[in-house]
């Protein structure tokens, strides 16, 4: 039997996803040992796990290096990979929000400057509202952009709101709800349909 290759995002979300997969009967003892390895196999179950950078999981799956993977809805909407989205795992829940300094007032006669890591999501959100914007693409520390007047607002993921609060920012609007999704390569799904559907059914039972 061919291995089912599963790409998990490094970090808390990946660990939670692995716990779900283990509870569904897809455990892999090697992954639970500490170390710097990135690939783990459970020969008896025919599963092979590997850790990947969260934003790369969708690429691994789209290009067929992984048959299935776990990634956030934010990544799927931002990069639009050509994959199946088989399950909402209901973990890693947070919101994509528009935030700004408390004193911010949206002057619609001027172009709105938006700092974000999620350029496409921000563009689509403001385009649907007919708002003229200028995008500042940043890769991290988005919250400082309004403080140092790099942007008027930010579009970013908000989990607890603590980071925003500590930087005197407030949420002005919610763009979308985010959670982790189980994705599959479209070609792999066709050749490993029974195996993948069985995995989905077991995960659903545990939800």
């Amino acid at each position: 039997m061919a291995y089912l290759n599963i790409a998990l995002p490094k970090g808390r979300l990946g660990e939670k996803a692995y716990t779900m997969l283990k509870a569904a009967g897809y455990g892999c003892p090697a992954i639970e040992e500490s170390g710097r390895k990135l690939i783990f196999e459970n020969e008896a179950l025919g599963v092979r796990y590997f850790w990947a950078k969260p934003s790369d999981v969708a690429i691994y799956v789209e290009r067929g290096a992984a048959d299935i993977g776990v990634t956030g809805k934010d990544i799927l909407l931002e990069y639009r990979p050509d994959v199946y989205e088989l399950l909402d795992l209901d973990i890693g829940k947070c919101k994509m929000c528009v935030a700004a300094k408390e004193s911010f007032r949206d002057d619609k006669t001027r172009t709105l400057t938006v700092a974000t890591k999620f350029t496409n999501i921000a563009k689509n959100y403001f385009a649907a509202r007919g708002r003229d914007i200028d995008i500042v693409h940043l890769n991290g520390s988005i919250e400082i952009a309004p403080i140092i007047r790099l942007s008027d607002v930010i579009v970013d993921i908000v989990e607890t709101g603590t980071t925003l609060k500590e930087n005197n920012l407030v949420v002005f609007d919610e763009v979308l709800d985010i959670s982790a999704r189980l994705i599959a390569n479209k070609a792999s799904y066709k050749f490993h349909h029974a195996q993948m559907e069985e995995l989905c059914a077991k995960l659903r039972q545990k939800q």
């Binding site: 050509d82 199946y84 989205e85 088989l86 909402d88 050749f191 349909h193």
Partner: protein
């Protein structure tokens, strides 16, 4: 005799030509250029709207072909009751999704243009499946019917953007977002269930058709279902039956495609290598009264499937000095070319990989120590 110097992809092209010719399809050879206007008018039909353009000597804006089908339709006559069966093997020029720059892609495909009846549609479907089998036994042709999906989506009275979003959920097998969106749009639960059932369907015609019959009976998609059933009935008991799968996540543009559509997959290749279907709506858009069905096989995808065959650039390198006579070199090359590829040079190229190094000295060939 098999030509050992041909790459696997090139051998596939010859096999496909023989396959299509065997069913009476004639080769369609076309110019590399087309008037740009043709693509402007049918922009959505193209996979990418970027086209390489240039101004011809007569001032006309021309394009390097990004697509073959539009040119074939443009050049086809619109004769009722007649069918034209053509195949092509052409390069098209498209933007690569990964590099963002233009790429030359070798495409092999066929078109059946005119009053295509049930047999013609089946024949194209069968040739698509056989084209995949030419590459690998581990291949599948996933089939859907745009009529079934459009009948159901049209009945939901959604806006254009909402319909597109529903279609995207079906394409992604995304039941959770479909449910949430339909709830927000006020779609009644029976229709949501119907769409969920379609998303969940995957399997051979023999297993899936009875399921489909049950869920589509008494719905607006019944006539389209019967069309699909009739075509697939022709595959019953055939040698391609086991390679067919019904899968409604196979979707193409509703503005151009109407009936049966399909995509071909080969185990080991991450994306579809073949795409096709009935595109009567495109024919109407191009002012044709008759219909059409066809497909294209993307040969660039096959590069990754075939392992790199040669670890060597050549089997033999024959080194000869300036004192050797041309006649002696000729004779040595002739003798060794019976055993493999021979490169005769006076100086060894730096990065060359070869199996055996030969040296010609005093009219005699000596095998030097092996692999570079």
């Amino acid at each position: 005799m098999e030509n050992v110097y041909l790459k696997a992809e090139e051998k596939v092209i010859f096999s496909l030509r023989a396959l299509y010719s065997g069913y009476g399809y004639s080769r369609y050879k076309m110019n590399k250029f087309e008037e740009y206007d043709l693509y402007v008018r049918n922009k959505d039909f193209l996979l990418s709207d970027a086209v390489i353009t240039f101004t011809d000597t007569n001032g006309k804006l021309m394009a390097l072909k990004p697509d073959v089908t539009l040119s074939i339709i443009k050049d086809s006559e619109d004769t009722p009751a007649a069918v034209r069966k053509l195949y092509y093997n052409e390069n098209v020029y498209r933007i690569s999704k990964t590099t963002g720059s233009f790429k030359e892609i070798m495409q092999v495909g066929l078109e059946c243009i005119g009053d295509a009846d049930d047999y013609c549609i089946y024949e194209v479907l069968m040739l698509a499946a056989k084209s995949l089998l030419t590459v690998s036994d581990s291949s599948l042709l996933a089939i859907s019917h745009m009529g079934i999906l459009s009948d159901i989506i049209d009945s939901l009275s959604l806006t254009g953007a909402q319909s597109a979003a529903v279609l995207r959920c079906v394409e992604e097998k995304n039941v959770h977002d479909l449910e949430a969106m339909c709830r927000a749009c006020g779609v009644e639960s029976a229709s949501v269930q119907l769409l969920k059932d379609l998303i969940g369907i995957y399997g051979t015609p023999a297993t899936v058709l009875p399921q489909l019959e049950r869920i589509l009976k008494n719905t607006c998609a019944w006539d389209s279902y019967k069309e699909l059933e009739q075509t697939l009935a022709l595959a019953e008991g055939s040698d391609i039956e086991q390679y067919l799968r019904i899968d409604f996540s196979i979707i193409n543009d509703l503005k151009y495609y109407n009936g049966i559509i399909f995509k071909g997959f080969i185990e080991g290749i991450a994306t579809a290598v073949l795409s096709g279907g009935q595109y009567d709506k495109l024919m109407r858009k191009m002012k044709r009264k008759t219909g059409a069905v066809g497909f294209a096989l993307y040969l660039d995808q096959l590069e990754r499937f075939y392992p790199r065959e040669e670890s060597y650039d050549t089997d033999y390198v024959l080194l000869y000095g300036e004192n050797e006579s041309a006649k002696a070199v000729c004779e040595a090359v002739r003798a060794y070319s019976k055993k493999g590829a021979v490169l005769a040079v006076r100086k060894l190229p730096g990065s060359l990989k070869y199996k055996t190094l030969l040296k010609l000295a005093g009219g005699k060939v000596v095998e030097a120590d092996g692999i570079s």
